[in-house]
Symmetry: C2
Subunit: 321 residues, 2 copies
Amino acid sequence: MPTLSAVARLAGVSAITVSRVVRLPGLVAPETRRRVEAAMRELGYVRNQVAGALASARTGSVGVLVPTIANSIFADTVQGLSDELEPLGYAVILAQSRYDAAREDHMLRALLSRRPEALIMVGSPATDDGARLLRRAGIPIVETWDLPAAPLDAVAGFDNYAAGGAVARHLLAQGRQSLAFIGGDDPRATRRWHGFDDTAQAAGAKAPRRLILDRNASGSVAAPAELPGVDAVFAANDAHAIGFMCGLRTAGLLRNDTAARQPVAVIGLGDLEMGRLIAPSLSTIRVHGDAIGRTAAKLMLTRSGPRHVDLGFELVLRDSG
Amino acid sequence: MPTLSAVARLAGVSAITVSRVVRLPGLVAPETRRRVEAAMRELGYVRNQVAGALASARTGSVGVLVPTIANSIFADTVQGLSDELEPLGYAVILAQSRYDAAREDHMLRALLSRRPEALIMVGSPATDDGARLLRRAGIPIVETWDLPAAPLDAVAGFDNYAAGGAVARHLLAQGRQSLAFIGGDDPRATRRWHGFDDTAQAAGAKAPRRLILDRNASGSVAAPAELPGVDAVFAANDAHAIGFMCGLRTAGLLRNDTAARQPVAVIGLGDLEMGRLIAPSLSTIRVHGDAIGRTAAKLMLTRSGPRHVDLGFELVLRDSG
DNA sequence: ATGACTGATGTTAGCGCTGTCATTTGCCTT
DNA sequence: AAGGCAAATGACAGCGCTAACATCAGTCAT
C-alpha cells in the first residue's frame, strides 16, 4: 500500500502537504492540490488512519458495547448512533457482552485498548472493575437504556421502573386482578419488574408473579401453562409478549375478534413494528431506541449542556390489553 | 494514560519485556511477569493497540459493511461474525451503506483507512470504484448473502435466484394462478424476483407481478389493494410478508382458522422467530444468517480450503401458504 | 573444557503519520 | 522603502509500540 511520502514524491511536494490535502484541503493552493490528488489517484492511495491516530492522539473511533445485536431492540440504537457518527468520520467499534459480566469486562478492556474517543454502552458496567476502567479512561462514557442512580458520566435512557409502574396502573385500572411479569433478569428487566411489582402492591392488588425466561421465544410460548389464573401479563419486551400470545392462542385463551376484551391482557415493551401488524395487535411501552442512539452520539460530542437525558416512553394501547 | 515504558520503569525492566507480558507471557520468567503485572495493575495500564497496530502492521480489526443493522436479518450475521472473531481478539468495525451506492463507496474507503485485516460485506460492491478499492486492498474480502457470478475473493451466501424459483414452484404446485412479488429492489431482492419470475413463466404460468415497496412495513400493509386478483405472494423478506398479511386481514382476505387454505398464499424470506408465533404462521424461506456470519469469519481467517460456500436455504411451510 | 543451544532479557530502528515550529514569497500599509 | 502580514510550504521530532537482532547466563553433550 502506498504511503503519504510515496504520493509526495510523485507529486513533487513534501509529505505534510499531502497530509493537508487529505485533512485540510483549504490550506493547500488549488494547483498543488490538483497535482497531489492526481498522484493519489495514480497510486491508489488510501489514508492510514491508524498511523494518523497515533500521531494526532485522535483515533476517530467510538466503542459501542451492547448485550446482543441480533433480533434486538438495541440494533435501533446502534443504527441511530452510527447514523449520527459516520458522517463525522467516526468509526463504530462494536462489541457484545452477551449479558455476561466477565465478557463485558473483557470487551470493555478490548474496546479501550483501541483508544476510542468515547464509549457508549447499554446499561452500566456490571462490575466495579469495569466501572473503574471506564472512569480512568478519561473519555466520555454514555450509559443508555436506563437512568442509573449514580452514572459514570452521560446518560441517554428512560425510566424502566416508571415504565413497569405505568403498565401496572393501566392493567389494574382495566380491572385485572392477577398480574404477572415475564422476561429476562438483566438489570433493566429487573427494574421494570420492580416498578410493576411495587406499583401493583401499593395499589392494594395481589402480589404479581414473576417468571424468568430464556432469551428466546420458546420459553414465552410455554409460559401460559406456568401462570394459571393470571389475567394480565407484562412482558419485558415485545418478542416475549408475542411469544406469550402464541402460547395463549394454543391454550385457547386468545380472542381473534379484535374488538373484544382479551381473557388475558398482554403488554410488551419496545414497540416492534411487528406488534402493530399482528392480530390482536400488541399493546406496548414504546421506547425510542434510535433516539437513544442519536442522543448518545450528541452527548459524546459535547462537554456542555445536560448530561442526563430522559427520552421517556409511552404506553401504546392496541388490542392485546 | 500510562505507557509501556512507564510500566517498565516501575517494574524495573525494559519496555519490550512489558510488551511480552501482554502479548506472549510464556516468554517471560514467572517472577518477572509477576512484577510487571503488579506494575500494570498499580498504574492501571491498558495496552494501546493503535500503536501496536502501527508497529506490527496487524490491526486486529475487521471491517463489516451491511446495508442496515436495525430490524434486519443482517443483525444475525453480524452477531455470528463477532461471536467468532471477538474471542480471537479481533475488533469489529461496523458501517452501514443504507442501500446507497455512494455511501457504500464512502464507507468502504473509511473502513479501509482503518487498515482492517479483512472486509466482510453484504452483497458485492455496487460500483466499479468500490470493487477496485477492495481488490487493491490486499486483504481477504468476503461477500455474503448472495453467490455473485464473479466474486472478488471469498463468498458465504445462498442462491437467491434458486430461492425465488423454489417459491414459485411451490405456489404453482399448490394450484395458485396469479403470483406476485413484493419487496425492495436491492440486488438480492431482484435476484429472488428473477428466479421467481423465470420459474413461473417457464412453468407456463401467467407472468407474475412485481411491486416495489419502501423498506418499512407501511408499504406492504397497503400492498393488497395494489394487487387485486392475486392469489399468492412472495415477499422479499418476512417483515414485508407480515405487513402484507396485516393488509390482507384488514381487507378480509385472511383466514384466522389456521387449518384452512388461505385465499391468498404468503411466503416470506428470513424465518424471523415472529413468523412462527403469529397466526396464521408464516411460511418462509429459511436462510442461515448467523451461519453466514460464522462462515465469513472462517473464510477470512484461512487462505486454504473452499472460498465459496453456499449455505443453502429451506422452504418452511406453515399456515400462510 | 568447548562449542552448541536454550531461555530470558535488552537495544535499536522504525511503522506512517501529524503537531509545532520555521521559512519563503508576495502584497499591503504608512 | 521598510516593516508587517497572510498564504503556502517544509523540516523535524515523536506518537507508543514491536520486529529483528544482540546479549548474556546457564545447561548439556561430547
